[in-house]
Amino acid sequence: MNRLFLSISLLAGFLALDGCYGRHTPEPPTTSDTYRPVYAAYAEIRNVQVRGPQPLRVAGKIYVKDDYLFINDIGTGIHVIDNRDPARPVNLAFVSIPGNHELAVQDSTLYADNVVDLVALNIANPRNIRVVRRVENTFDYPAFPLATNVRFECANRDRGVVIRWERAKIDNPECYR
């Protein structure tokens, strides 16, 4: 009798849990937009280059160290400015870093995000900046679009890094959020 009671309570418990689960799991949206990932090869995004001065396109985060000013250009890299005379800042160089948004400096090392990697650059000579260390896959892989309540083609890490999501008509996309 006791055992039967236990079985029934356990079963009831599981049913209750299942009921809770069912109520709280959102159903995949069926009418909203669908998206697909646009990939870049890992070799393509892990390509940091120092170029001559470039015009500022979209000003992002900024960082000051001593007489130098570092300006992120959203998603593309960092402008290096000689700011010894703040009335006449001199644009020295542009460090092209795909996917870059953030930056910080300790001693003569500049840290920057490069999509899923962290890169450390030596800036001892601001006219001769170079990558000295790369910490691979330290940031989250961009596995879903920013928009919520949408369906999308699942991202596949083997195909590279997702650099953006484009709206597209996709039959039965398996992922949603």
């Binding site: 900024i62 160290k65 001593d66 010894r84």
Partner: protein, 246 residues
């Protein structure tokens, strides 16, 4: 002859040393209030929407990934202050101490309604701006909160001041700068935290984030980077502008 060449070599070494005097000094620099990377001591902290990652940078050229700390959701900004980390989230301000740099410990939380909110600190006060509008959720409030942090484990609101559309802020001494986005740049006198007053307002300087540094104010905005001198706090002077060229 040998002596002469040694002398020349020495001269060369000395001149090299003199030439490198403008190379970066030890330690970290200064970032803005909306930063998601920051340095405290010998540790670099980076935040994602949900977690904080630490890197040991005792040897700055060799960052070593350390501990990962779960912070919750809607994590936006990180600001270092006296060995503590002030983390701006969509629901409030988290305070962590870095006594164990590799695994910071949560010591306090200041909660507010959902909005975007960077934070800076100075003395016994933290300054938090709240902004409504996308991508921040449902809040319809724009304000500057002055918070008493003399007890880090229980931050207390002193007063909330109305703002237009604050994005980033910076503090130096008795002056606080607020980037009001499309609405411009505000200069506030904070000598009395219970009675913060506006000193100057530049409605045409579209401003996202600000960094006060050596009596110069750096301002980022959709039009470029502005630099002002605030040697005279009542009268900011524009020094230069690096324009955006679309």
């Amino acid at each position: 002859m040998k002596n002469l060449s040694q002398f020349l070599l020495l001269l060369l070494l000395v001149s090299c040393q003199a030439g490198s005097s403008d190379s970066p000094s030890p330690g970290s620099g200064v970032g803005g209030s909306t930063a998601r990377f920051t340095i405290s001591g010998n540790t670099l902290y980076t935040i994602s929407n949900t977690t904080m990652q630490s890197y040991n940078i005792s040897v700055s050229s060799d960052p070593k990934p350390g501990g990962k700390t779960a912070l919750g959701t809607g994590i936006e900004t990180i600001f270092p202050y006296r060995g503590n980390l002030f983390i701006g989230t969509q629901t409030g301000m988290l305070i962590y101490n870095t006594t164990t740099p590799n695994s910071p410990q949560r010591i306090g939380f200041y909660s507010h309604i959902q909005s975007c909110d960077p934070v800076v600190a100075q003395g016994n006060y933290a300054y938090v701006t709240l902004r409504s509008g996308t991508p921040c959720r449902n809040a319809s409030i724009n304000s500057l909160d002055v918070v008493d942090i003399s007890n880090l484990s229980s931050p207390k609101l002193i007063k909330s001041y109305p703002m237009t559309n604050p994005h980033g802020l910076g503090v130096d001494g008795t002056v606080l700068f607020v980037g009001e986005g499309e609405a411009g740049l505000r200069v506030m006198d904070i000598s009395d935290p219970a009675n913060v007053r506006q000193l100057q307002y530049f409605d045409s300087t579209r401003a996202f984030d600000v960094i006060p540094y050596k009596k110069q104010l750096l301002v980022t905005g959709p039009d470029g980077i502005y630099q002002y001198s605030y040697a005279d706090m009542k009268q900011l002077k524009l020094l230069s502008k690096i324009p955006v060229q679309p």
